[in-house]
């Protein structure tokens, strides 16, 4: 088998993250080691850099490369209606609960990637007839992927799995209702996304910029180690109104985080939590 590239050492990764911190003020030090190492190896393979030192020197000398680097190391695998039962619970319980007490709902997609989840949220709200009550912020660390999310244009072949998810979610329409097809792509109707604003934001170093009724941060913190998960969870907590909701990935858990006691579990299967203490 062809695996001649030597193992990436932790000391090399330490040097790399330090250079990035010094020059670009992004902090990858507390990313989960197993996946971060794999993402770096991926970059080395992709650009045919012979080792981490080569990558470091390119980053030191070519600031234009940094955005591309960030795009390649962040994981952008997502689907519309991923975990259909999660979206069903949102529609039947969580969103109605929020709207019971408010006339408006503010939602933050933290780590929105290419925007499938944002599109999904807007479809759910639209079907509930409450899309006009929503104010949605979608953020990501990766500029290129935010532009993709804004364009909301997806390969038509992806719509197959999206449609299957939608059927499992038991949507009241068909997914085709929300897009037009052109040149092998599904172009989501812009009217669906009118209440969404997109911005670049780094969960690790970014400031708390607003308060929300509902935050979705699903399968984002799995790329962080426990120290960083704690740090980010504190920020998410601060970004929620009291009695606001936080949704994380189905195989993530808050129980070992320091501020877990400031949340209660609303739905353990779908990992939906409610902030009960400031």
């Amino acid at each position: 088998m062809d695996d001649l590239s030597p193992d990436i050492e932790i000391t090399e990764l330490r040097r790399l993250t330090q250079v990035i911190k010094d020059k670009y003020d992004y902090d990858f030090k507390d990313y989960a080691m197993s996946s971060f190492k794999r993402r770096i190896k991926r970059v080395l393979d992709l650009y045919k850099f012979k080792n981490v030192d080569k990558l470091i020197s390119v980053l030191e000398n070519n600031a234009d490369f940094f955005d591309e680097f960030v795009s390649e190391i962040t994981v952008n695998v997502t689907e519309m209606f991923r975990d259909p039962t999660f979206w069903k619970i949102l529609k039947e319980q969580i969103i109605p609960n929020i709207l019971l007490n408010h006339n408006k709902i503010t939602i933050w997609h933290a780590g929105c990637s290419s925007g499938e989840e944002v599109v999904t949220m807007c479809m759910v709200l639209d079907e509930m007839g409450v899309l006009d009550k929503a104010k949605i912020i979608a953020t990501d660390i990766d500029t290129a992927i935010i532009n993709k999310a804004k364009n909301a244009t997806y390969p038509i072949k992806n719509m197959d799995v999206n449609s299957k998810n939608y059927a499992r979610y038991q949507g009241t329409r068909s997914l085709e209702y929300y897009y037009k097809e052109a040149n092998g792509e599904a172009i989501i109707h812009k009217s669906l996304l009118e209440n969404v604003s997109y911005r670049k934001h780094d969960l690790v170093q970014g400031v708390v910029f607003s308060k929300f009724d509902l935050i979705l941060c699903r399968n984002v913190m799995i790329y962080f180690n426990q120290t960083l998960q704690n740090h980010v969870l504190n920020k998410l907590h601060e970004s929620l109104f009291k009695y606001g909701y936080l949704a994380i990935g189905s195989k993530e858990s808050l129980i070992w985080c320091e501020i877990a006691n400031k949340f209660i579990v609303v739905n353990n299967e779908e990992k939906i939590y409610k902030k009960v203490k400031d």
């Binding site: 197993s34 996946s35 799995i222 790329y223 195989k251």
Partner: protein
């Protein structure tokens, strides 16, 4: 003793795909209840079906099987199954790390990622077992285990319902033992004894 064994090992990873269900259930039904090493199962499964697989594997199992949460601490003698639509990796510091990265070998979970990350953490103290399957997932992982002086076992291709996966591993790297499922169970028994007499 038929196998060249020691009690230095700290963990076992098991990979399987098409045709491996029977083998893995037999192994789980026969492994000693108090077998001390954690076992990590990465079995190809339907991406969008979250429920039912643990239950199906548990019916005859001597061991409790759980799908771990991200960053869950690894417990002695526990059995972990890679959850649907997540890669399952091992992390330094005795925890499991899940990931939604791209498919690898058209699979998520991918055996190569579980095996490679486990071999990085456990080095020569890891045993890799690869069962029946229809693609080459696991071959790279077995190679990494061998490179780091771990122990490698494949299900005998003659017994495997679909032998592409064991054969790919045999072609990729040195395999210490080619065994049928009954022999794999014997192997685990002998290993178990070493921990109890030590």
């Amino acid at each position: 003793m038929r196998y060249n064994l020691s009690n230095k090992y700290k963990a076992i990873v098991i990979g399987g795909s098409a045709g491996s269900f029977q083998g893995i259930t037999q192994i789980l039904a026969n492994v000693p209840k108090d077998f001390p090493l954690p076992m990590f199962l990465c079995l190809h499964r339907l991406k969008h079906v979250r429920h039912g697989f643990v239950e199906a594997l548990s019916i005859k199992s001597n061991k409790v099987i759980a799908e771990p949460f991200d960053k869950e601490t690894i417990k002695r003698g526990a059995v972990y199954l890679a959850p649907a639509n997540y890669h399952m990796c091992l992390e330094l510091g005795n925890t499991v790390a899940l990931s939604t990265e791209e498919l690898v070998n058209n699979s998520r979970p991918a055996i190569d990622l579980t095996f490679e990350s486990a071999s990085y953490v456990y080095r020569d103290k890891l045993i890799g077992i690869l069962l029946s399957g229809a693609n080459k997932d696991g071959a790279y992982g077995m190679m990494k285990i061998k490179q780091r002086d771990g122990l490698t076992i494949v299900q005998d291709p003659k017994e495997s319902m679909i032998n592409a996966m064991p054969n790919a591993a045999l072609a990729a790297t040195k395999i210490d033992y080619t065994l049928n499922v009954t022999q794999i169970i014997d192997f685990l028994y002998e290993l178990d004894k070493l921990y109890k007499t030590a």
